[in-house]
Symmetry: C2
Subunit: 341 residues, 2 copies
């Protein structure tokens, strides 16, 4: 981690020296590849027979996390959203580079908490800090992580690869992330959810679950996959666009969480409310396609692993993504992501 | 490159769709590893027998580049500063991830120019865009690149590795970058430099030269190396700190550029002025150590390659970094970087 002493010093008035902050809070997070964060680059000796997967997600204060929340929560969320991309490709995380830009005056207070969030998350998922850059900014904080993972050579599950007739599956539940975002941004959620549901919403927002538990299922059965970051319809549309098929989802099959269902049922238009939840994205987890003939095997594998996995539709001829109601009528869907015009 | 459609859309009011911008300007920069910037991750199949080098440098508007300059120049400078780290380790660049945060209203105008700067630079140095993230920010632009390179297994030249008695060498010339920064930030440079020198200053600032030409010399002779980003004294102090030696530089040997010399000689305190130039950093190029017994071989190699390489000092017992005048008296040096306290 080259930490640009001179440049930072220009704008910083820290009681604790910026190098002390790095040395004290970030260096302990470094894996051997990070060379104690004291060289110009990290060094990775890739394992034979493995491909590397590389992803970048950036958070801007006030857009991707609430203003002023520079602590453990945002660090966990940032690292987890990156992990989610690696998980959706059937990969295993290795290490990451961190670019951290925050107001100099906030660093001494917040970097310890931010580092704590990284520490918790990297311990849980088995990856380490390899390097990065810390800069002062007179404006919104920007945090960016480039995460590197590995996957058996040729084993990356791409977005391209689905074929007509494939089943569409989704991991976990949908909807909590949108309500979690409402919660952390102090929007009113009406009716007031139960305490249990509130916890689920908040957890879904700050600590989304990358789908590593589905790694073997993806590796064995998936023809295409993506993580659920843009809303389920947009995410399947991305797969469709690259696979030259039409993703057809059954609206009633979408696995909304209990909390999200309770909320939606109490709204004036429950269908539209569920659409809003499903369009928000940020649920993470994974949506993937698999051959219809593997259906029972996929069901069995998920049951064996005690994983929630739901069959939500199938790939048909055509393009884009459509959602059908219980009578097979298409439900108008406002936003389907960039691939669907 | 997952481009967060939804999130960007929240804050963006572009005439041209953000995906069109990416597709039109960034996708053509993508190497095969980037999967047309349409998957969740890039995929690299590392070559056998090679280590990977990973580095991150981030630029904040108003700190690392002048306010409002979002175009080709800043893109070139950003990519080149990252390339400089790979070059200093005797590596070869492969590809990079880009995190770009700029005001939404500026994107349509500036992204084409920014992409052009990337294109020029990646063509010159042989690397490609693999992915990244584009986000809108209501504040200073933040550009961050994580660059991945490769080096023969075990061939990375570390900062650690110098021994007592080693020579210290520096590539190229010093001083132009500081005067280039003064120039682009509209500070008065007095006396007015010649047109030729002005061009050299501006070029040094916007298009610093990564030391790839020195790759074989580094690989064959260097015991330790770092790129010159924090000022020569700070950079050798970093090597000292990890090598447990004392870098001893001969002030009169420092290879200031002709333009920098002309400027310094005309100042009221030429020694102090040269120190300022050398402390500013951003000269890039490489400083490295090599065995004294290799001195003639290093000289000969540089001459053969027609490269400017200067012997500027040697590693002695002790710690930190000192600079001696022509009578071997230590020159007081205000800033020596984080390793020297």
């Amino acid at each position: 981690m080259r930490l640009l002493p001179k440049r930072l010093r220009k704008t910083s008035h820290l009681k604790m020296n910026e190098f002390d902050l790095i040395e004290r809070y970030f260096a302990p997070l470094a894996g051997p590849e990070g060379l104690s964060l004291k060289d110009d680059t990290a060094k990775l000796s890739p394992r034979t027979g493995q491909d590397l997967l590389i992803t970048t997600d950036s958070f801007v204060e006030g857009i991707h996390f609430p203003v002023g929340m520079y602590g453990a929560d945002v660090a966990e969320r940032l690292l987890r959203t990156n992990l989610s991309d690696i998980a959706a490709k059937a990969g295993t995380p290795l290490g990451y580079q961190l670019s951290l830009s925050m107001p100099a005056a906030k660093m001494e207070k917040w970097i310890p908490a931010f580092a704590k969030g990284l520490e918790t998350t990297q311990a849980e998922f088995g990856c380490r800090l390899w390097g990065g850059d810390t800069t002062a900014i007179d404006g919104p904080a920007v945090f960016s992580i480039t995460l590197i993972g590995e996957v058996r050579q040729g084993g990356m599950v791409r977005r391209a690869g689905a074929a007509i007739g494939d089943d569409i599956w989704v991991s976990g539940v949908l909807g909590d992330a949108k309500l979690g975002c409402d919660l952390v941004t102090n929007k009113t959620i009406s009716p007031v959810p139960s305490g249990e549901h509130l916890i689920a919403f908040e957890t879904a927002y700050w600590r989304p679950e990358p789908a590593f538990a589905f790694q073997n299922i993806l590796a064995n059965f998936a023809t295409a996959a993506a993580d659920i970051s843009d809303g389920i319809m947009a995410d399947v549309a991305h797969i469709s666009a690259l696979s030259e098929t039409c993703a057809t989802l059954n609206f009633d099959a979408l696995p909304f969480s209990l909390g999200a269902e309770s909320w939606a049922e109490a709204q004036s238009d429950p269908v539209e409310s569920r659409q809003k939840l499903a369009s928000f994205g940020d649920d993470y987890g994974v949506v993937f396609t698999a051959k219809a003939k593997s259906r029972q095997a996929v069901f069995d594998a998920a049951r064996r692993l005690k994983l929630k996995l739901t069959l939500i539709g199938s790939m048909l001829a055509g393009q884009g993504a459509v959602c059908l109601d219980i009578d097979d009528r298409e439900i108008a869907w406002p936003k389907k992501g960039y691939a669907h015009k």
